[in-house]
């Protein structure tokens, strides 16, 4: 059980780095504001996972350029748990991928609870590794 908690912590930390979140509205908790990782930020940012202090609040991510165009999301935390994701910027065109971002939202929420042991396909380069979910998993306590 301890391991599962640690893994979840690491997963959320990984998501935070990946989403490059910054506080947008004031966190509602009295706890210190979460870290503000920058894209490609230092690895040392990882252990200070925001939810260790049970942070609550709404956080807006940087706009990230993807192969499908710019994407920006806003997440809501309740005592450190990811409870909602809103897509602020992203593709909404009609066609086979019209609901791609809706699926993204569901998948990102699911990733927190998926108890993933490892990730395939995300860490081709040393640079990419630093901000990856795999990196967060490697730091999980045994």
């Amino acid at each position: 059980m301890l391991r599962a908690v640690a893994a979840t912590t690491a997963t959320v930390a990984g998501l935070f780095l990946l989403l490059a979140l910054k506080p947008h509205q004031s966190p509602t908790a009295a706890a210190a504001p979460p870290v503000e990782p920058t894209p490609g930020g230092s690895p040392s940012a990882v252990p200070s996972a925001p939810e260790r202090d049970g942070t609550s609040g709404t956080f807006t991510g940087d706009t990230i350029d993807t192969a499908r165009g710019p994407v920006q999301v806003r997440v809501t935390l309740a005592k450190g748990r990811l409870t909602a994701i809103a897509v602020l910027k992203g593709e909404h065109r009609e066609g086979p991928s019209a609901d791609a971002l809706a699926r993204l939202t569901k998948r990102a929420l699911a990733a927190q609870n998926a108890k993933i042991d490892a990730v395939s396909g995300a860490t081709f380069t040393s640079e990419g590794y630093r901000s990856s979910l795999q990196s967060a998993l490697d730091r999980a306590d045994g």
Binding site: M1, L2, R3, G14, L15, L18, L19, I64, T66, A67, R68, V71, P96, S97, A98, D99, A100, L101, R103, L104, R107, A108, A110, A111, A114, K115, I116, D117, A118, V119, S120, G121, A122, T123, F124, T125, S126, G128, Y129, L133, Q134, S135, L137, D138, R139, A140, G142
Partner: protein
């Protein structure tokens, strides 16, 4: 109840990161084998790197060495390239970029070898990842299979599916992070039809090599992979569609029709 102890190690080598995740309390033999596996990966980099002018592969390419003068592993890897080229019907070549470059098969081959080193000394439950290509053995915990998230190639940080199972090899070829870099051997230009293709099988050496060929092949890989025993696949196309082989659903979550 205390969870069984696990050992994790991340090693930067070959321009990427290799992650070791060993489940259960390590014996001294396992600890020693992990060190051996790490040393072996660095040795592979020295011999096979195309970025090192003095590597055996670079010298072989320049004609300064013959295949027989190289370490026996070089012949083993080059034969692996040839057998992959035959299996892939021309969609794989170790010289697609105009020079000898077996990189597409070396990583998976090295990961599987490292995994075997650990298994042979009693680490029966572990996962070894080389830059996102994985060989797992046994299971994550007694009665619990490994769960491998597959990165969404178009949405960084998201998972597109999760592959679950025991003794699985999982390899993903795609354009995420490195951009188009897998060359179509027929044209010498980057393949762009797929955003990523993930293959699941038993041995990473085979799975990783076939994943590279499948990526170059594009949508035609769907029929080609369906015909291969012991290999299942899940692909995301460049225009954000997905397809998978019929047997993939036994391992991975597949999207519910919208």
């Amino acid at each position: 109840m205390a969870e069984p102890r696990t050992v994790r190690h991340a090693e930067h080598v070959m321009g990427t990161v290799f992650s070791f995740d060993l489940r259960g309390a390590p014996t001294p033999a396992v600890t020693a084998a992990l060190a051996d596996a790490v040393a072996w990966l660095h040795r592979v980099d020295e011999v096979f790197s195309t970025y090192r002018p003095g590597s055996q592969i670079s010298r072989l390419d320049r004609g300064e060495l013959t295949e027989r003068q190289c370490d026996p592993e070089v012949a083993e890897v080059l034969e692996l390239c040839r057998s992959t080229a035959r299996a892939a019907d021309g969609w794989f070549s170790a010289t697609a970029g105009g020079r000898l470059d077996p990189s597409a098969v070396v990583k998976g081959w090295a990961v599987e070898r490292a995994s075997q080193l650990l298994y042979d000394v009693g680490a029966r439950h572990h996962s070894v990842s080389g830059g996102g290509d994985l060989q797992t053995r046994g299971e994550a915990a007694p009665g619990t299979p490994w769960r491998i998230g597959v990165a969404h190639p178009l949405c960084p940080g998201d998972l597109i599916t999760v592959v679950t199972g025991r003794d699985l090899a999982v390899a993903t070829s795609g354009t995420a992070e490195r951009g188009p870099h897998i060359l179509d051997p027929h044209t010498g230009r980057p393949a762009t039809a797929l955003a990523s293709v993930t293959l699941v099988g038993r041995h990473l050496t085979e799975v990783d090599a076939l994943a590279t060929a499948a990526f170059a092949m594009g949508d035609a890989a769907r029929g080609w992979l369906r015909a291969r025993d012991g290999i299942e696949a899940f692909a995301v196309t460049a225009d954000a569609r997905t397809w998978w082989t019929p047997g993939f659903a036994a391992y991975g979550e597949v999207p519910v029709p919208a």
